[in-house]
Symmetry: C2
Subunit: 227 residues, 2 copies
DNA sequence: TGTACATCAGTGAACGCGCGTTCACTGATGTAC
DNA sequence: TGTACATCAGTGAACGCGCGTTCACTGATGTAC
């Protein structure tokens, strides 16, 4: 057992070295560092293709230490999902399922929030794509069951209403808009290293990407010209 | 050596069993079947996560047979890339680097061709995303060096010219349009199982997706209204 | 203050297992004479 | 036509290796008295 046993409430005070003042293990510097290293490697080359020995070497510790902190590779992956991916996914979902704005405002918020959070966590898009697209991906189930429906159904409703009132492009499919918006934000960031290798574009910041996507989508949502 | 030695030209005719009339191994039914099974499993759960033993079991042969035909796992992956992914990528590139149409026609062709070829090969999007986004992905290098530049530079030029003549939305970034188009086509198809699980949409065929994407993009490229 | 000791983070060496791979072998299929 | 044999597709059992994992152990750090 790596984790120390719970202190019995009958014991007034435990003998020996105390548990690092803030509690055992949880918010440990070494633990956090191991998560950082593992997360980077998982995002770069995939979970299955990353041996614990590599994580250990990069973090300059022993593979045994990874078991000391996490118990197993599976549980290390769980920890990454629980403590890194899941909170970010949840934050995204929360900020997107928000209040009743008009469609333009909602879309602008969606794109902006997405790009902002994803740029602040560059490892996210790749790992998210891999985990979500993989048949047995860990995030996939949670996404389908919890995060996605909330956001997806809201977007669909707002689009349907706006179309019903003749305010936006009637050729847009209400259900596919959400998919398009993700494809326009998550994919470009995940593929960033590739298109940056094709032509020089140091001037393309996240803000430039944001303006490009919004220009395309907001214009795309407008009613076609009558003719 | 799995492959039979080249017949010496001095020998008028070889003794023994002939080489299956069409030549050894290359267009073998068993070999093709093994490639099919391997491709399916690779696309479903990733290359690193798919052991040869699993491929062998699903194909109802021995793992040794995979070495008999391909020599090693690496070479099996090479064969998949060379004989399945690469031709499709090349076909895509060829049909997209096409002649000098106007921008609207080019975009319409791009989206249509992409969706058509990808729908006909449902395994492609997932494997393509994984191999291209992965740091050490096999297709990544080829894509960056050979396929992408041709298409990407053409799209950029056409967009720049159209913008210069004031024909399309000036807020679109000429370099990012290609990325957006891929995000709007490859991603939705790769993520198909997910959004189909979120709300019932049996009626969303590839044609519906095509119309949706084109409605969004073609309208998005138009000049903003003066006001 | 000093000493005994409990607990800590972390290690080094070994373990079993499953992987990719090898190799001697087999029965079937065809050719040569 | 019959027989000897060369080559075929494919197998079964074993191999070495690297993986995730285990476990006895260590020096450092702090507490109790």
């Amino acid at each position: 057992m790596p984790k120390p046993p719970k202190p019995s409430p009958t014991t007034p005070r435990r003998r020996g070295r105390p548990t690092a003042s803030t509690g055992p293990g949880r918010d440990n510097d070494a633990r956090v560092h191991l998560l950082d290293v593992a997360l980077r490697l998982f995002a770069e080359q995939g979970i299955a293709a990353t041996p614990l020995s590599l994580i250990a070497r990069k973090a300059k510790v022993t593979p045994a230490l990874l078991h000391y902190y996490f118990g197993s590779k599976d549980k290390l992956v769980d920890a990454i999902v629980d403590e890194r991916l899941q909170p970010l996914s949840a934050a995204l979902g929360q900020r997107l399922a928000g209040d009743d704005r008009d469609l333009r405002g909602a879309v602008e918020d969606f794109v902006s929030t997405m790009l902002e959070l994803l740029s602040a966590n560059p490892w996210f898009p790749q790992l998210w794509l891999r985990e979500v697209l993989n048949e047995g991906g860990l995030l996939r189930k949670r996404l389908i069951e919890r995060v996605a429906p909330l956001v997806a159904h809201r977007v669909r409703e707002v689009v349907q209403q706006a179309q019903h009132h003749g305010q936006i492009n009637p050729d847009i499919d209400p259900r596919l808009l959400m998919v398009s918006l993700i494809g326009l934000t998550v994919f470009p960031l995940a593929a960033q290293p590739i298109w940056r290798a094709i032509y020089p574009c140091d001037d393309i910041t996240t803000e430039v990407l944001r303006r490009h996507v919004l220009a395309l989508v907001l214009r795309g949502l407008e009613l076609p010209d009558a003719h």
